[in-house]
């Protein structure tokens, strides 16, 4: 089985430093790579490697996370299906190339991408996307510019056969964006739940000799329909989070137990990660 290129992106490691974003700008703005891509316009609209932000929770338990999103080089690419005259081609190494000459005028190539990862170049009248740095890989590079630029090791560019990639995916619990579309992306994400899932968080306190103190070491149990779905222990500030909850997944019950008492509450999970506020343990 032929070895093909894949990209693994670890969302938990991304610091939003933008060095990958800048590396892609550096590579493509002002440079034509014939057969691979025409120069990218120096333009905020062209974010071939885009970094999207996501905040979860609320003060004091807030997460600010970032996810790099780019052309997924899908094995069943909607843009290929929309293209005419072979304007989008799949290389044997898995990379999807939008031909800068043949794609001229074909707006539907851009419109077909469910990930909004194809951009329209007004001046040249062509759709453009990140071509996996194919021209560099063809010259012998083993990493994409994004991987080289990243100080936090968010990216891994790997060339393996599809069977091996499936093994890695299972082993490392990798996900793809919007798998329900059946596009079979070659860009895989690790820790994607930090963008797509919800957590519930709270602060547990207790009264000690009439003074409010953080309740460290309290046990928190989350149940749904009587089934335990998560647990946590409060930290030294009495704070806890329970992660990997499906948005809009119904009502939950939270039970906190500590040496000085207990506390329980119920909540309905919506789109966002709730911070349930300060919970005071009480006896009985």
């Amino acid at each position: 089985m032929a070895e093909k290129w894949n990209l693994i992106v670890d969302v938990a490691r991304c610091d939003n430093c933008r060095l990958c974003f800048l590396a892609v700008k550096d590579e493509y703005v002002g440079n034509d790579f014939p057969g691979i891509s025409a120069a990218q316009p120096a333009d905020q609209q062209h974010t071939w490697l885009d970094i999207q932000r996501k905040e979860r929770g609320a003060y004091p338990i807030l997460e600010a996370r970032f996810i790099p999103v780019m052309c997924n080089h899908c094995d069943d690419a909607p843009c290929m299906k929309a293209a005419e005259g072979g304007a989008v081609r799949k290389r044997a190494d898995g990379i999807v190339i939008i031909d800068p000459d043949k794609a001229k005028g074909q707006k539907k190539i851009m419109q077909a991408c469910p990930y909004h990862a194809i951009y329209w170049n007004e001046e040249k009248d062509i759709p453009q996307a990140w071509p996996f740095d194919a021209h560099l890989l063809d010259e012998g590079w083993t990493r994409t510019r994004a991987e080289q630029a990243c100080p936090m090791d968010v990216y891994r560019t790997i060339k393996v056969n599809d069977e091996e990639m499936r093994r890695i995916q299972a082993e490392e619990n990798l996900e793809v964006l919007r798998p329900e579309l059946g596009t079979n992306p070659r860009v895989y994400y690790k820790n994607l739940h930090r963008i797509t899932a919800c957590f519930v968080g709270g602060t547990v306190v207790e009264q000690v000799d009439g003074v409010e103190e953080c309740a460290a070491g309290a046990q928190v149990v989350l149940t749904q329909n009587g089934q335990e779905v998560g647990q946590a222990t409060t930290d030294l500030f009495g704070e806890f989070t329970i992660d990997r909850l499906e948005p809009r997944s119904g009502s939950y019950r939270l039970q906190v137990t500590g040496p000085s008492g207990s506390f329980s509450t119920e909540f309905e999970l919506g789109d966002e990660s709730p911070y349930l506020g300060v919970m005071t343990l009480s006896a009985g």
């Binding site: 939003n16 060095l19 700008k25 550096d26 002002g30 003060y59 630029a149 936090m152 030294l236």
Partner: protein, 987 residues
């Protein structure tokens, strides 16, 4: 070899070089002249060389009518001069002691000497051939080192520098059963990674220009600076105007010429303002704009008085803290500390190790900053600039629960009883309990207790400020001195220097070789400036070059330059870092015996974006007393058009230079390079030819010098930039390890790793243990010790002082010896007149640009939507605010919003975020753009100069430093109609 043969060899060598190298042949065609070399003691001995359209004729003896004459004192000196290897010290000695005389027009003399110099350098080869017509060069930036791929004279790409197996520098730290070694690569900051887009920016100044309504011989129309257009002129005309204006102003009297540079410059030891700029202006004699310790305010004016560290601007040492922190610490408290901003990601990699070891993280910052968001841990968000109250409450818990280092406090400190009495409320009736601080800071008392108890019982590193050991963040605000003083006090109460207890956040203190010599930029390159750079520390002995010294004794406090110009006087305090008391010296403008400033020479920078109360500058630049303003810049930034003549400088990619990544030098954060995992010295290749007609700073100053008869002096006898690079190379320890030719080709060199046994001692441990100071720090100076040399601290008592008795000498109401709690100066709850401005604006160091560097209108940083948002044809600076405040004003993400108060009005793009508490707005300072909607200085700015909203009042009455954070403002959706006018702090 006989003298006659040596002399004969010169024209022969020129012919050979011209035959092999077309560029040398082309150079010989640039000038027609007769050059005579002769001996002063033997009038008939010599050789002349004639150049005529590139053709060389030559003869022994004396020419009847030479253009240029090089006269050696005698035959022995000439022989020595012309026989390799050349002795630089002998050459300098001959030049400055009149053993070698140069006669003839300055420009011809300099040209001829440079032509001789190129007989060596024309043979040198640079860069690595990558195939397909691509050459890989190297360069250095403020954001780290780069590989620069060049094809057909154009930069194809820039990448980080990945290290090869043969490069050294690898080290390992063993901590808690794990081994940690850094990745084999150098990392960049965003402002280093955007450089290609900066080089080819449409903001580049490509030609000398003159304001259309500026006539040096007639009407100068200073009121139209910043308004009128510019027209292209030739270099000849531009340098004529500049040289004649310098002459005119100097004739008025000493101090009539004023000069100013930014706080930073393009990277490189030679192009830096401390080098090329200082050398030139020392030859002219100028009024300098005296900078204050910007970004160090609280440490410099406050904390320093508790423990010394004057050469670190009041910040603590950081030696060896990476290893100690990883081995010992159980918690890191990041207090107003966002190291992932501004300075790249070397430390970020090390913080991943801390995470791997399970070291707890706490972040205290009104903004959930980038480091906090990335690392996770507890977020505590005090109201802006109330941090000192929180810190005092921690002291209260430690004192009442006996959780501090009592033996360190007893043996190594003074004043603790008085401090304790203040904290317990015995002296003022207010116990500084966690409950006391809660209404002030908004931080629950229980959180303070939990933090204080953990800190008091577990080994804790205090990461104070951006670097963990100072700089940026809360120290820059109105209560910055209290904050920094409290950081020092918290450190002392836990015995900082005890293993596991120190200052740091893993950003500084990597176990690199601290003794290997390569000069930092602050050593001044070839400036010869012993007074205003760290040249005398090593460079002057290492690299023989001629001293330069200006004779004008006048300066202006930079913060109040507008007042100096519009009101004719100004007053400030000197930034002298050699001793703690250096900051007590006042200075005034004008100085005795000096004249008011008539001419201003601006060298880069964009003070509208970086200085507080920036609207004042517009009026100062337009003031009629400033008869002439030159702006020498690479890019057309906000303040560039507020001038009469613009001189286009080129980027560091278009000239030769050399530098070590993040090596500043003594007095400018000594051992700054310990931020890096590897010490790396880069050749800064001239990767491409200068764009348009731009020139290097050195070549610009050399061109003006020649019109003032100073060309040979400025260039030290026609030394080219590349020849200076070679001299820096030769002066460093690197020359013992790699040949010049290898270095020039490869472009970088990594300093070998320190042997594990000779790693630098841990910071502050010597003081904790009561040893003599053993960290490799040239300060304190011997005379600064009150006791024996190397024993104790340079405070009046020689110990850490909880009550800073040194401050008794200055009697400054803003910094009493006891660090008492004083609320921030602007508070609508305390001052009803400020009720119209309910929001607090934070203007911290920017995440992606480096102050204004990188913030071009079309650079790739502008495409980062966390930095600027493109709307209605322009890139607007991002301002962040809480959803509650946004909703109350009908503001949504990406809406254009106006931030204003009495001093300024600026339009930004909104980012609505939970990372700020209600009542707090954050926008980074450092806009390179200034776009007033109407009259400059009196209308709303669309460029993003949020510093305009900050006060010009100093952080301390008897000091010279800004307090730019935490200013009161109001925000509304921008309507496009501007009727705003400043009502305070105008000039």
């Amino acid at each position: 070899m006989s003298l006659s043969i040596l002399l004969w060899g010169i024209p022969q060598a020129m012919r050979v070089a011209a035959r092999i190298y077309p560029e040398y042949a082309a150079r010989l065609k640039e000038r027609d002249l007769v050059a005579q070399i002769k001996m002063r003691d033997e009038p008939d001995v010599g050789r002349w060389i004639q150049l005529d359209k590139g053709k060389i004729t030559t003869g022994g003896g004396i020419h009847s009518n030479p253009d240029v004459t090089i006269a050696f004192k005698n035959r022995a000196l000439a022989k020595s001069f012309l026989t390799p290897p050349f002795d630089q010290l002998e050459r300098i000695d001959a030049a400055k002691n009149f053993k070698l005389l140069l006669e003839g027009p300055d420009d011809l003399s300099v040209w001829f000497l440079q032509t001789l110099g190129q007989l060596e350098s024309v043979y040198w080869k640079s860069g690595t051939d990558m195939g397909n017509g691509v050459t890989r060069y190297t360069n250095g930036t403020n954001g780290g080192p780069l590989f620069v791929y060049v094809k057909d004279g154009k930069i194809l790409r820039t990448t980080p520098v990945d290290l090869e197996d043969e490069d050294g520098g690898q080290w390992t730290i063993e901590a808690r059963g794990k081994k940690f070694s850094p990745p084999r690569r150098m990392t960049l900051a965003a402002h280093g990674a955007c450089q290609k887009s900066m080089v080819y920016s449409k903001d580049r100044l490509l030609y000398p220009m003159k304001r259309v309504d500026f006539d040096p011989d007639g009407d100068r129309n200073p009121q139209n600076r910043g308004i009128s257009e510019f027209e292209r002129i030739s270099w000849e005309e531009a340098t004529d105007i500049v040289a004649s204006e310098i002459k005119r102003a100097r004739a008025v009297g000493p101090g009539a010429v004023a000069v100013d540079h930014g706080s930073h410059h393009q990277w490189g030891n030679l192009g830096h303002y401390l080098c090329a700029f200082n050398r030139f202006w020392n030859l002219i004699g100028v009024t300098k704009l005296m900078h204050s310790p910007d970004s160090w305010e609280g440490w410099f004016w406050g904390a320093m008085h508790h423990w010394g560290n004057s050469a670190r601007l009041g910040c603590p040492e950081f030696y060896g803290t990476v290893e100690d922190c990883l081995k010992e610490a159980e918690m890191i408290v990041f207090w107003s500390s966002d190291p992932d901003t501004t300075y790249g990601f070397e430390g970020a990699q090390r913080r991943e190790w801390a995470r791997e070891l399970g070291i707890k993280m706490v972040h205290i910052d009104p903004y959930l900053n980038h480091t906090a968001a990335h690392l996770g841990g507890k977020w505590i968000a005090p109201k802006p600039q109330t941090d000192a109250a929180l810190a005092m409450a921690i002291c209260h818990v430690w004192i009442t629960e006996d959780l501090y280092d009592t033996s360190f406090v007893a043996d190594r400190t003074t004043g603790f009883d008085e401090w304790k009495a203040y904290i317990l409320g015995e002296s003022d009736g207010d116990a500084k309990t966690p409950e006391w601080q809660e209404p002030e800071t908004g931080v629950p008392a229980r959180d303070v207790r939990a933090l204080a108890r953990e800190w008091g019982t577990r080994k804790t590193y205090l990461g104070a400020g951006s670097w963990g050991a100072g700089v940026g963040g809360a120290c820059r605000g109105p209560t910055g001195m209290q904050w920094a003083r409290m950081m020092a006090i918290l450190g002392a109460m836990q015995g900082h220097g005890r293993p596991g207890y120190n200052f740091g956040n893993l950003q500084f203190g990597a176990p690199v070789d601290h003794n290997f010599y390569f000069p930092g930029y602050a050593e001044g390159g070839f400036s010869g400036d012993l007074a205003f750079s760290a040249n005398s520390a090593n460079n002057y002995q290492r690299m023989p070059h001629i001293v330069t010294m200006g004779t004008v004794r006048q300066s202006i406090p930079r913060m109040w330059f507008p007042e100096a110009i519009t009101q004719g006087k100004s007053f400030g305090y000197i930034t002298d870092v050699t001793t703690t008391g250096g900051q007590f010296f006042p200075f005034g403008y004008p100085s005795p015996g000096h004249v008011p400033v008539e001419m201003l020479y601006k060298y880069g920078s964009q003070l509208f974006g970086t200085m507080v109360g920036g609207n004042r500058w517009a009026k100062a630049y337009q003031h009629p007393s400033l008869k002439f303003i030159v702006n020498q810049s690479i890019w057309n930034e906000g303040e560039t058009p507020f001038s009469d003549v613009i001189l286009p400088a080129c980027t560091v990619f278009e000239k030769w230079d050399i530098g070590e990544t993040f090596n500043c030098g003594p007095g400018y954060v000594h051992h700054f390079y310990t931020m890096n995992n590897h010490r790396i010295i880069t050749m800064q290749h001239k990767c491409i030819e200068p764009l348009g007609e731009s020139k290097s700073d050195y070549d610009i100053f050399a061109a003006v010098s020649e019109k003032l008869g100073l060309g040979a002096v400025y260039t030290e006898g026609g030394t080219s930039e590349l020849a200076w690079v070679k001299r820096v190379f030769d002066s460093s320890d690197m020359a013992d390890h790699i040949s010049w030719r290898q270095f020039l080709k490869k472009g970088y060199w990594v300093v070998p790793a320190e042997n594990e046994n000779s790693r630098v001692p841990l910071a502050n441990n010597w003081y904790y243990e009561g040893r003599k100071k053993d960290t490799p720090d040239p300060y304190p100076l011997p005379s600064d010790y009150s006791g024996n040399y190397l024993e104790g601290l340079p405070t009046p008592s020689g110990k850490f002082e909880f009550i800073a008795t040194g401050l008794e000498k200055i009697e400054d109401p803003d910094r009493p010896p006891l660090c008492e709690y004083m609320p921030t100066y602007e508070d609508p709850a305390r001052n009803p007149e400020l009720a119209d401005y309910p929001l607090k604006l934070q203007t911290g160091h920017t995440r992606y640009a480096y102050h204004v560097m990188g913030d071009n209108t079309d650079g790739s940083l502008a495409d980062i939507r966390e930095h600027r948002v493109f709307k209605d044809g322009h890139y607007y600076l991002v301002a962040r605010m809480n959803p509650q405040d946004a909703q109350a004003r009908g503001i949504e993400d990406d809406d254009l919003i106006r931030l204003w108060n009495q001093r300024g009005s600026v339009v930004c793009a909104a980012q609505v975020t939970g990372r700020l508490q209600p009542g707090v707005v954050a926008a980074y300072s450092g806009s390179a753009q200034y776009r007033p909607t109407g009259e400059p200085g009196r209308s709303t700015d669309l460029g993003g100069c949020v510093n305009m909203l900050n006060t010009k009042e100093p952080i301390t009455k008897k000091g010279h430093g800004m307090k730019p954070n935490s200013v009161l403002i109001e925000v509304e959706k921008w309507t496009g109609a501007d009727d705003w006018q400043p009502t305070a702090e105008t000039v």
